[in-house]
């Protein structure tokens, strides 16, 4: 590669990064424009959801949740809160990323820029929202720690949130990139996604713990003599693994076990590689299909 070409590449990369930053800023700052509460809305939504789930699943149905392994906490709203926020981040990032190409059709057909900038910036802005929610949650956990456990122990494990956040981002980005181009070829995917995300939410154990699944597996084995590997299937779900990791850190005040980390790394890398391959293949002629 010649000096000039290298120079040009570097220039292109700089321009792309600048564009990525500006687009992400646009997503973030335009999201709550002209609302009286502004960014607070990004907290009100999960709070409302947590309240509803706490009443329905905690108070009425009384889903059993094991106490936090290190923290010994038995606060259902906090337990479900971690799940709601983490699941919200996964599902919102994927739908934002998925809609990013269709939503910017005008831009795609009129200007050239590296197309991946669109899903990446959409995911980044959702992850930004997620990060602020995590920060609020962390603050609450520090207070809860003082109150119930006798110290801000959660801060010891909080740095683990950074690699976990990066893995989450890689995972959702891969899926978002794949769906963002696929949804242009098949618009049905947009509608299908709303169903899939519902099913996926329940399958990820946002409002019940693995204990319930284990009970069910045992019951089926005893009643019908069927050995269904329900727990294994449940834990094959990457979103469940992510939720487990977030709960380990924020609720149990513990380090997620190594097999959780391995599963997360495999899922994230796999998703990113597949997403990027499909995206690069399909995005080239995207303008003609829009």
């Amino acid at each position: 590669m010649s000096q000039v070409e290298r120079e040009q590449r570097r220039e292109e990369r700089r321009v792309t990064l600048n564009l990525l930053r500006n687009l992400t800023k646009r997503e973030i700052s335009a999201q709550y424009k002209r609302t009286a509460l502004g960014r607070i809305w990004s907290l009100i939504n999960p709070l409302a959801q947590i309240a509803v789930y706490s009443i329905v699943f905690g108070l009425l149905i009384q889903i059993p949740v094991a106490p936090g392994s290190n923290s010994g906490l038995e606060l259902f709203p906090i337990w479900i809160g971690v799940g709601v926020i983490a699941w919200g981040a996964i599902s919102n990032s994927i739908s934002a990323g998925m809609g990013s190409m269709l939503g910017n059709a005008g831009l795609l057909t009129k200007v050239y820029f590296p197309r991946s900038v669109l899903p990446i910036s959409a995911v980044l802005s959702s992850i930004f929202t997620f990060a602020t929610e995590l920060l609020v949650l962390l603050t609450i956990m520090v207070a809860v720690g003082w109150w119930f456990v006798g110290g801000p122990m959660v801060l010891l494990y909080a740095p683990l949130l950074i690699p976990l956040l990066l893995l989450t981002m890689a995972f959702v980005l891969g899926i978002a990139m794949l769906l963002s181009v696929a949804s242009i070829y098949f618009r049905d995917i947009v509608h299908l996604w709303s169903i899939v995300s519902q099913v996926w939410m329940y399958a990820s154990g946002v409002m019940f713990s693995v204990q319930l699944v284990r009970d069910a597996q045992q019951r089926i084995a005893e009643d019908y003599g069927l050995e269904l590997p329900l727990v294994t299937l449940f834990q094959l779900n990457p979103a469940e693994r992510f939720l487990t990791a977030y709960r380990n850190i924020l609720y149990d005040f513990a380090v997620p076990s190594w097999d959780v980390w391995v599963a997360l790394v495999l899922w994230s890398v796999g998703s990113l590689v597949v997403g990027k391959l499909v995206f690069d293949r399909l995005a080239r002629n995207i303008v003609e299909e829009i």
Binding site: R14, L23, K25, K110, Y112, Y185, R187
Partner: protein
């Protein structure tokens, strides 16, 4: 001379779906995505755009010139062939396309600038120039959704033109804003040329191309016809562009056909078609048209010829001060009224044109599509083509 843009054997085809299905179900049922034909938009096009030139791409609608421009801008990918560009390329295909309505003008300048490839520092240093050029200083901190369409376009244009690329690709956007603004744009383009930058422009406006460009390429149905000196190419294109076809009433027509005349004729005050009128009497020429789409500010015109082909008179909407805001798709009529027809008895033919507002794009030109006879009347004539309101009088003998 080195090439700023080197187009080598570029071909591009599009899928034209006969029965477009975008559902997974249909795909699974038929076992394939959709039935489509291939439309060859560009067929083995090869030429070079010399560095520092202002290069025009000419051709009729659908000739592939915009496709070629989009390939140069890397928005579309050629199926085969290569396009090599030297230096920074910026495309001005639709100004303000990256604007976010909820964000302020200021935020959008930064956003749009970065979409077009400017760095933050670069936008910082040019920000005042951009705002000054656009003339929207007072509203720069307002959300752009409150802008008038003129302000919107001017701000978008101002950002695009301050990218200062080595190669600027422009698609039919020379006609934005008012006269003052257009003048500013032309000055900016002139400055571009002085600085040795390359401009590639697509336009229908033949005269504009002749004045504006020094080189040109002419495409027809995706095939390169000729490339070279602009005025020579424009002449060739203009000759060929008037490929005429037979129209109604024995007339001949050319044009792109978004609006077509279906009939021309004289009508009497009750609206009945007549083919006779007396010299000096009022006459109403009616043009029946059919538009296949909504057309903004069309310029209608009508003209009279003798049967021998002498052009006697022509009047266009712009000169007459009558340009409708828009005509909708569908049929309609428009009248050209003459208070006293000053023509000598004989046979005459009617022609009509309809163009876009800049009168650079001919939708339809229907020539000699109706004949009428002028009979002797109040305006007397003893010879010649005209019958004027004149008389002999005032004999004096000395």
């Amino acid at each position: 001379m080195t090439a700023a843009v080197d187009v080598q054997h570029v071909s591009k085809s599009f899928r034209v779906y006969r029965d477009r299905n975008q559902s997974i179900k249909a795909t699974l049922l038929t076992g394939r995505r959709a039935v489509y034909d291939r439309f060859q938009a560009l067929d083995d096009v090869t030429f070079e755009v010399p560095e520092g030139s202002t290069f025009g791409l000419l051709g009729r609608n659908g000739s592939g010139k915009s496709t070629l421009l989009k390939c140069m801008a890397r928005i579309l990918n050629p199926n085969s062939g290569t396009i090599t560009t030297r230096g920074r390329v910026a495309a001005m295909l639709e100004v303000g396309s990256g604007f976010h309505p909820e964000l302020s003008g200021r935020e959008n300048v930064y956003l749009n600038g970065s979409i077009l490839g400017m760095s933050r520092a670069e936008i910082d240093s040019k920000f005042d120039q951009i705002v000054d050029f656009s003339g929207v200083e007072r509203f720069i901190d307002q959300p752009v959704k409150n802008y008038s369409s003129g302000m919107y376009v001017r701000l978008g244009f101002a950002v695009s033109i301050h990218v200062e690329p080595d190669v600027l690709l422009v698609d039919e956007v020379l006609a934005v804003g008012d006269m003052d603004f257009q003048e500013k744009c032309m000055e900016k383009f002139a400055q571009f040329r002085r600085e040795g930058r390359t401009v590639v422009v697509v336009s229908h406006g033949i005269e504009q191309m002749r004045n504006f460009c020094d080189h040109a390429a002419w495409l027809d149905n995706g095939v390169l016809q000729d490339v070279g000196n602009a005025s020579a190419i424009v002449d060739q294109y203009a000759d060929s562009g008037h490929a005429v076809t037979a129209g109604p009433g024995g007339g001949v027509r050319f044009g792109t056909g978004e609006v077509k005349f279906t009939q021309l004729g004289l009508v009497d005050p009750s609206g009945e078609v007549v083919n006779e009128v007396r010299a000096g009497e009022p006459a109403t020429i009616r043009l029946w048209y059919e538009a296949s789409e909504r057309i903004e500010r069309p310029v209608f015109g009508a003209g009279l010829h003798t049967v021998e082909g002498v052009h006697l008179w022509e009047l266009q909407g712009r000169d007459s001060g009558f340009v409708p805001d828009a005509i909708e798709a569908g049929a309609g009529t428009i009248d050209v009224r003459v208070d006293h027809l000053p023509l000598a008895p004989g046979s005459y033919s009617i022609s009509a044109t309809v163009q876009d507002h800049s009168t650079t794009h001919m939708f339809d030109s229907l020539q000699h599509a109706a004949r009428f006879n002028v009979l002797g009347g109040g305006f007397r004539t003893s010879g010649g083509m005209l019958a004027l309101s004149g008389r002999l009088e005032n004999l004096r003998q000395h």
